[in-house]
């Protein structure tokens, strides 16, 4: 289990809705870990691409529960 400071159950949200929601939460908590549940099929590759482009960090993935731990970049 990875320590996290905040979490978001994004449900079925995907594509732009998902990454915009993640961005908002990571930027509000720089350097902190967000635990995210995202059920969308495309979420994994999308979140990896999002992190590659933005400097946020994907720490871990639980593919079974579709749970992600993301650390927001320091501003």
């Amino acid at each position: 289990m990875i320590e996290h400071s905040h979490e978001w159950d994004a449900g079925d949200a995907g594509c732009g809705e998902l990454v915009l929601g993640v961005r908002k939460r990571l930027r509000a908590n720089p350097g902190q870990v967000l635990k995210l549940v995202a059920l969308d099929t495309g979420a994994l590759v999308d979140l990896q691409a999002f992190c590659n482009m933005t400097g946020h960090e994907m720490l871990a993935v639980d593919a079974v529960t579709r749970t992600y731990w993301l650390r927001g970049r320091q501003t």
Binding site: C15, V19, G42, V45, D46, L47, M53
Partner: protein, 120 residues
């Protein structure tokens, strides 16, 4: 010059001509050593399902199934628009080989450093 090439396809059985020509051009791009992506969006997401391309054989062209197989075998990539896929209630366990369901961020990453694109 960018080594990437993106083809945005929005049609499947609703416009077999566009669907076919998109993959003909995609094969030309991948044969030219371009890192080639076909982005299936709108109605084209139906082509991500096994069995759909088999029904499309436009006169004067190879069957679409063969065009798609050749594209993947040559190293081409197929991204499938996640919300378009979800809207149509398609089956993620029935994807054709090489198809990857993605959201917009993955497409943006592919194109973000400059990428010629065509839309059909």
């Amino acid at each position: 010059m960018s080594g990437k090439f993106c083809i945005n396809l929005t049609c499947s059985t609703d416009n077999t001509d566009r669907a076919t020509v998109a993959f003909v051009v995609a094969n030309a791009a991948v044969a030219s050593d371009k890192h080639t992506l076909v982005f299936l969006s709108i109605e084209a997401v139906r082509l991500s399902q096994k069995g759909v391309a088999e029904s499309i054989h436009e006169e004067g062209f190879a069957p679409l199934k063969d065009l798609m197989s050749s594209f993947i075998e040559a190293g081409g990539e197929i991204f499938v628009c996640s919300p378009c896929f979800k809207k149509r209630k398609l089956d993620e366990n029935n994807l054709v080989e090489g198809a990857l369901i993605v959201g917009g961020a993955k497409l943006v990453e592919f194109m973000s450093e400059g990428c010629p694109s065509l839309s059909y």
